[in-house]
Amino acid sequence: MEIERIRPSLNEDTKPYWDGLKDGRLLFQKCGHCGTIRHYPRQVCSECFSMNVEWIEASGKGKVHTWAVSHHAFHPFFKRDLPMTFVTADMDEGVRVCARLRGDGVIPSIGMPVRVAFERLDDDLTVPVFYPA
């Protein structure tokens, strides 16, 4: 029996982010009032409390803030992927993105430049991944 993958339970606040990924674009929220960029998507700008929001396309460029390598899958779907390297990167826009690191045999370190790419998993789900830049 095929194991179901974990899917995001998206809503009105977050759908544009996932739609962007499907189009091969990494989108961040930008406050429609003061311009502060934020991530993950949420309802209110914590700088000026405006609920006006626009979505901007990110450069996709960042530097490793931290990383870890999973040797245990906590969901059966990911057993085939072990070990999995996760990177959290400081993006040029000032927010962070967490994603799997691709590239054979790459061992990350803090400050290492990375770039975002997109992996289409099926018709409904595309996820961000990192490659060494």
């Binding site: 974990i6 390598v69 959290t88």
Partner: protein, 384 residues
Amino acid sequence: MPNILFEKCAISGIGETAYVRGSGKSETALQMEASLRAIADAGLSPKDIDGVIPYATGSAVAEDFITNFGIADLRLSATTPLGGAGCIAAVQNAVGAIVAGIANHVLIPIGRNGYSGARIGSRVQQLPQFRTVGEFEMPLGQIAPVQLYAQMARRHMETFGTKSEHFGKIAVTIREHATMNENTLMTEPLTLEQHQNSRMISDPLRLFDCCLESDGGAAIVISSGERARDLKSKPVYIMGIAEGHPDSPSAITQRPDMTTLGTAKAAPRAFGMAGVDHKDIDVAEIYDCFTYIVLCQLEDLGFCKKGEGGDFVASTSLGLDGPMPINTHGGLLSQAHIIGMNHIVELAKQLRGEAGKAQVRDAKIGLVTGYGDMGDGGVAIMRA
């Protein structure tokens, strides 16, 4: 002038079930069993309980206690959804409610089948506090707390030079304490070599950096100090208590300083309320879901500076021969994972002088922490 809550309330009763893998009992039954023991320890009748703060994501609600105990007029029902910091947060709420005259005897029960029931890793996704991680990180394969905490630990290691051996020393010491306890899952000592050779779960965190999954229940009763003095057991007074929430509480990956927990905000408040200094703490029960989280809390509590946790752990004994023994019961790492209620119960035992082989000599003032939901911290300072 002392804080309005200073020493106004006390732990009047403590209770625990056996800690096992495979309880054969329902989670609610475990809570009832532990609660009845805590109430009997206080010398109260179950009908005397007029406040209940059950575990926020547990199986039982206050109504279950009204029904089982025949409570005629329950005046306080609340929950504190801070994960492993929830027990300390519940004590803070109980103290506030008692001082305000809302309730007299508040029961705080925990009971869970963490081993034989739904595994911890698989149920976090259901919690609203984990919605953000659930949407943005779990679909990528980052599912369990250990995977997130591994990224926190790595940041600490690369920034400050902290080593896996530092985590190992914490695991070894806490295991040593578990072997002195009769109600414990882990009964054999652990060596640093065994720690270093244990398999990676989420690099840099190894198997022996992770807490146990276990079944069991524990409970306490909080009463006013005045009432507690007339009850059966020696009151353990709450000198200082606080909860703290980290920046970006729902997404560790977005936290400005990934190496600081909510504990750092709670600690100055708890110490300030208690009116004591770090050197006054004789024994500390520190929430130990992962070894790294213990090291990070030692810093956030102020026992050493941020970044110096590795050196502190390497140069200071955390055992019974040291200046401040930690996790004298064996903690979540080696006794059982009872959401930190076992830490509160152990501190009460230490301060009452009832901690058996692991009794810290002349333990007068003690500290207990809670930690959970990716960064929430709770700190309480007590004396008998």
